[in-house]
């Protein structure tokens, strides 16, 4: 759910990074944080356990510049990927404008990816959203590892609808901004559609 403030001329949107545990959602945000001009970002908040596993969410506010005189801000969130944090994941999806699904390309994580995608679909439905109708992109992360599934197979399993998808190595930043740019574009186009309707 975007927030359009005509008084301060601002548009705020919420993007959620979803995916199985240890797929690299937080790493995506950390890279974006590291590479963004200090003027355009706020503090990155990570609610994590002592072992640096996401407990509730990571949060990164990003100011991207202006569209037609309106300051455009994206609030990026990650969900905790571990299966048993499902209640928290549901909360974070509230009011989402766009979702990035980060898949772990390793062979042994294929089941976890599929399960997490299904979980995303169910949790979105609980909030009244349909995965097919919201701005959505997929990222195949960890492409630098040796034991990976080919992107084409991942696409078959996770992206039958053929939404924009990207190969990535989030630890090195490969594909991270392409993914962000793509989801930001879809979210803004969706807002435009809503205003034309």
């Amino acid at each position: 759910m975007s927030f359009i403030n005509y008084s301060s001329r601002e548009i705020n949107c919420k993007i959620v990074f979803y995916g199985p545990g240890l797929c690299g959602k937080t790493t995506n945000l950390q890279w974006i944080y590291k590479k963004t001009n200090p003027d355009s970002k706020g503090k990155m908040i990570s609610l994590a356990t002592e072992t640096e596993r996401t407990l509730f969410f990571d949060f990164l506010p990003l100011a991207l510049g202006e569209i037609r005189g309106f300051k455009t801000r994206f609030h990026l969130y990650t969900v905790p990927g571990q299966v048993f944090y499902d209640a928290s994941r549901k909360l974070i999806l509230k009011g989402v404008d766009g979702v990035v699904f980060v898949a772990d390309s390793q062979i042994e994580r294929i089941e976890a990816n599929i399960e997490s995608m299904e979980n995303l679909r169910v949790n979105l439905a609980e909030q009244g959203y349909e995965l097919e109708k919201i701005p959505f992109v997929v990222q195949y992360n960890k492409r630098d590892l040796p034991n990976i599934v080919p992107s084409s197979e991942l696409r078959c399993a996770l992206n039958p609808r053929n939404v924009p998808d990207f190969d990535a190595v989030a630890t090195e930043g490969t594909g991270v901004f392409d993914t962000l740019k793509s989801i930001a574009k879809l979210v803004i186009m969706e807002l435009k559609k809503g205003h034309e309707a």
């Binding site: 706020g42 503090k43 609610l47 510049g65 930001a184 803004i188």
Partner: protein, 164 residues
């Protein structure tokens, strides 16, 4: 989904800002701010210069969301007031019209009783302003009349420019 987007206009923003300032004064508070349930900061007043209000807004919403989740598990509709007590500063959080969150930060210059009393009064006023705002948004949607929309003539180029 888009039907429930939050839109804020100049007129209502001024009313909200005035009410927050009044509450700040009457409750003897340090900071008062309003957050959308999704974590977007709507307005803030008081000693906000050295305060990361964006992060606070997001964490407040997370806090309310988590508490709401607990309420549901107990069969409650919501817990409408949260209070965090610190050594120096305290935070009073309450929900208005089931949609927005009012946060009051105060220290020893005020008290929980005073804050609760003043918050209760402001809740009604703010609730009315938000209802008025929602009606206005709904009305403009139906009548097709809008303030100049920043999206109307947006192009791919505009979006590309965002990323420099």
């Amino acid at each position: 989904m888009l039907g429930s987007d939050l839109v804020m206009y100049e007129e209502e923003f001024k009313q909200i800002d005035a009410e927050l300032q009044r509450l700040l004064q009457q409750a003897n508070a340090k900071v008062v701010f309003l957050v959308d349930k999704n974590g977007q900061l709507i307005a803030a007043t008081g000693e906000t210069e050295n305060l990361d209000t964006t992060s606070l807004a997001s964490l407040t919403a997370g806090n309310i969301a988590a508490t709401g989740g607990m309420a549901k598990l107990l069969g409650e509709k919501e817990f409408s007031i949260l209070f965090h007590e610190g050594q120096r500063d305290n935070i009073h959080i309450s929900i208005i019209s089931q949609r927005v969150i009012l946060v009051v930060i105060f220290d020893q210059r005020s008290s929980l009783g005073l804050v609760r009393l003043r918050v209760k009064k402001s809740t009604e006023t703010l609730g009315n302003i938000f209802n008025q705002l929602l009606q206005k948004v709904e009305h403009e949607k139906v009548s097709g009349k809008r303030e100049e929309s920043p999206f109307a003539e947006i192009t791919d180029e505009d979006i590309d420019k965002l990323f420099g």
